[in-house]
Symmetry: C2
Subunit: 569 residues, 2 copies
């Protein structure tokens, strides 16, 4: 039994996208797993997907339900066709609210794809969906609905999804254990609890109205810790088919959101293919595409180009934007004594622009206008940390915390516009300085969700930065970070391939789950306990099937003890 | 430039040792590295090895010195011949103390090698060294000397070794940073400081007088965090040549000690080859061999067989013994409600013996006699945690902490005999319960060094337990654990091969170094800073060479950007 029967990956060495892209992605259930759906109560048409792992009859245990971010790709009953895209499950929910309109949308321009043409141009997606936007300047965000007391279908979907197995936990392990550092994790997640957390700004539901294919999920300190996987082509390598497969591959192993960090040509078209096929929220850094549009010259950026890019991507359905509006002109001198200066790509682009023009950042100055765009599509903010430390030496310095103060200020402006907000965090931080990052973020940003990259706890292990950062990610996740941005073994060295993506995702699933356990999430330990029982009873098949990566566990076991008899013992 | 030019590994599929073993191991310097030696002052014949990593001229920086556990194998000037063994550098130091005698020693018996014979018998080591032992019942331990106010050559060697680069750190980074949880890390390590820490029992120097090939090292909370790598053949696979190479390979990447956990045939002879070629302390679990001698029947174990095994291994030069004397008869009922019962191999053997005979453990009852043996050779105790938790569910339970109380009691008995002691710790522990392990151990065992396996912070990722445990190891190392026992990707699944050994060692070097940084070791950050400067200045070669695994960093980089021009930029 292998878990990826239909993998077909084009050779990664050809920088030109093939004229006939390979459109096959990895499908099929994980070993011993079945997709089940749980219906809503308030909204009966909701069908929340979960994965059930069947155990050996000798276990005398029911199947174990686990959170499932993998979408229809792991459902043997689903007909997958990349050229058609996924079913648009939220389309009717959005339409039913009656506060949006469809419109012609912005025309795709040659610069959107870096002027790629002819056989160098990635084909457009097969279907052109007319975009929707808010009518009459209204806010169509989950935050606006939450504040208005509305429990949306998205909120009920999330309550069912997060609530996974808590009933069972309440019955089998009534004692709560853990230290959540002041989080407010409920014994049972109700739709009303989801609404209340969103209304308070303590959680976000990244759900652009133009990405109806996405299965709703939530990012917040009082919910399960989430992870993000970055994908993206570059000027050097990779094609559309590869990127779609990377997305499918990343969610197969548990990525809760995917950021498309593509640069180079064909950005627009590749992104369209990804979004139309993604059951998880997609994040981007619009500044990257804006920079491509001005030929890579940071100084030539302008509010007009940036604004155009926001609308372009909002219409496509990007669910959250990293916006580096917290880096202000007067912060830049604070970085001069750093060992590694400004390492954030977005941060260095904006610093270059500010210094060249000797002007305040146009992102900061136009922030209210950015909010107006975000609220019209429900694109969530991921306020970027352009001044995050790039080395142990620079951790928790004046530049980093000065920017964080501005992010706190921007959080309140975004909230005033009914926009959803999360805050990005470092970076490279030694263990003893991690807690301070979390505490300051909670205080300064009024409990808006924290979304951190790692942090890496040492600089001396390139090639293993999934591990240097996995340590920091587990800790900051425990302290309260809501989503962990993965780091792959290729960090600092090159672009991740398919194996690196998987290694990064599994490492971060470990970190997130270790954090859930330590925070005392009521049902988190059920899977540990089921696997430990299987281990103690030598139910090898169950041990493999309950693990985060059944294929690797099985393969490692078979290297030493390849006989089937050893597994049935 | 490759770092392992002479690797020759016999095929690992043949369970029978070859009649003519392949005697080649990995030698040669790591990239851009040179072996340097620093002389002693009190003891001028001391030559403490360090590794100097040369940087590109454009850096304008001197070579960086790093701790070097790899022994003569990475010294291009050393003539390596496995059949001769390493130079016996401590032989004259031991002899000069005048408190030991050489004697005929115990005869090797057929059961010592599991009755292996003819071409199934691993050949004896080429040279038979007469063992030494204490004269007239004296204690020849580093603890006894320390208490007597004697600064041994071993202590000065260690002071120089630990003091590495602290002078430079004092000049370039005078501000101390970190949180050591009450440790007493000095700005400068003096030989007297080493003596004092050993005298207090807060640190041990594992240094059997019959292992004069070892380069002295120290395990204690106020010194750099150390790591151990486990090797060992089994009834199923592996040969002597493989095990010697695994030891050399493990120390090449930074293992500070190596435990030989062999079972099956040829244990005695394989161990002799390992010790004669090991520049790091070797630890064992004598109970494993004792069990082999009684045909694998735990109930047939006796104090006589165990005592005989202790003397056999002490004469060979094993530096520390794991002794599971803390598991007492009345502790066993405390495990009945556990999810994973008793997972320590030594623990389950002893529990079986105790239950069968319904008697107190012979290890506990004969503990003072064990001390008499240990002090005659200076074998250090590693008091085993036979009741360590094998799952998240069992962490920090009554059984575990009851045994810890007994380990505290035994620590004091060992100290009364002038024996050196460290304490083994768990195991599987979620993040929020790790700190309690450290705090209790320090209190109950009066600051004797803690030596922990991981701990693993979740049970759900077999195949990735180097990572689940690396998280816990970094944290407990920060809190005060003196040595971290590595876990490889094959944990729970099979025997580690050469790649697994390297992955385990590098992961644990990361954990130990992250802990050193967080504890505020004065010079720990020098390597991070040097690598970060190289990264910021795009000195790729320096970035590779300064990393824990230059070969992997280079290979990953070359996969994406294979051109030499990219490296010189």
């Amino acid at each position: 039994m292998t878990s990826d029967p239909t993998t077909t990956i084009p050779a990664p060495t050809n920088p030109t996208p093939p004229a006939q892209p390979v459109l096959t992605v990895t499908t099929g259930a994980l070993p011993a797993s079945a997709k089940v759906h749980v219906a809503g109560v308030i909204h009966p048409d909701i069908r929340v997907p979960m994965r059930e792992i069947a155990l050996h009859p000798s276990a005398g245990e029911p199947p174990l339900r686990v959170y499932d971010a993998s979408g229809p790709y792991t459902d043997p009953g689903a007909a997958i066709a990349i050229e058609r895209g996924l079913p648009r499950l939220r389309e009717s929910w959005v339409a039913a609210r009656g506060d949006t309109e469809s419109y012609a949308g912005r025309e795709v321009r040659p610069e959107d794809n870096g002027f790629a043409a002819d056989d160098r141009l990635t084909p457009e997606f097969t279907t052109c969906h007319r975009p929707r936007r808010a009518r009459d300047g209204r806010a169509v965000t989950q935050l606006a609905y939450a504040r208005a007391g509305i429990v949306t279908p998205e909120m009920e979907f999330i309550a069912i999804r997060e609530n996974l197995a808590r009933q069972q936990a309440a019955e089998t392990a009534p004692r709560r254990d853990g230290d959540s550092f002041g989080a407010a994790i409920p014994a049972h997640v109700t739709p009303e609890f989801v609404r209340d957390e969103v209304a308070r700004g303590r959680a976000i539901i990244p759900a652009n109205i133009n990405h109806p294919e996405a299965e709703p999920m939530i990012i917040g300190r009082n919910f399960l810790v989430k992870i993000n996987a970055n994908i993206g082509n570059s000027a050097v390598t990779s094609s559309m088919a590869e990127e779609v497969e990377k997305m499918v591959w990343a969610i197969r192993w548990g990525a809760d959101t995917v950021m498309d960090l593509s640069t180079g040509r064909n950005i627009h078209n590749i992104r369209e293919w990804i979004i139309r096929n993604s059951p998880v929220p997609i994040g981007t850094v619009p500044l990257y595409q804006a920079l491509e549009k001005v030929g890579g010259i940071a100084e030539d950026l302008s509010w007009q180009v940036f604004r155009d890019t926001l609308i372009e991507q909002a219409e496509q359905g990007v669910d959250y934007f990293t916006i580096h509006a917290g880096l202000r002109l007067h912060h830049i001198p604070l970085t001069v004594d750093r060992v590694t200066g400004i390492v954030s790509r977005g941060g260095s682009i904006m610093a270059k622009w500010c210094l060249h023009h000797h002007r305040e950042s146009f992102l900061y100055e136009h922030f209210p206008e950015i909010c107006e765009i975000m609220r019209a599509y429900d694109v969530s903010f991921s306020l970027g940390d352009g001044l995050r430390p790039g080395s142990i030496a620079d951790a928790n310095d004046a530049a980093q915390f000065a920017e964080l103060e501005t992010l706190g200020e921007l959080t309140r402006i975004a909230w005033d516009h009914d926009c959803q907000v999360m805050i990005e965090g470092p970076g490279h931080v030694p263990m003893h300085k991690i807690r301070e990052n979390m505490d300051k973020q909670l205080e300064i940003c009024a409990e808006a969700p924290f979304y951190t990259l790692g942090p890496l706890t040492t600089d001396i292990a390139p090639g293993y930065d999934h591990i240097t950062s996995g340590i920091g990610a587990a800790m900051i996740g425990w302290f309260g970070t809501a989503m962990l941005c993965y780091v792959t073994p290729k960090e600092h060295l090159g672009l991740p391939d398919r194996d690196d993506v998987k290694t990064g995702v599994i490492t971060y699933k470990i970190a997130a789950h270790a954090a859930d356990l330590a925070k005392g999430h009521p049902a988190a330990q059920l899977r540990d306990d089921a696997l430990s029982r299987a281990r103690f009873e030598f139910r090898w098949e169950d041990q493999f099937n309950l693990s985060l990566d059944p294929d690797t566990a099985r393969a490692f076991h078979d290297q030493t003890l390849p006989k089937e008899a050893h597994k049935l013992a």
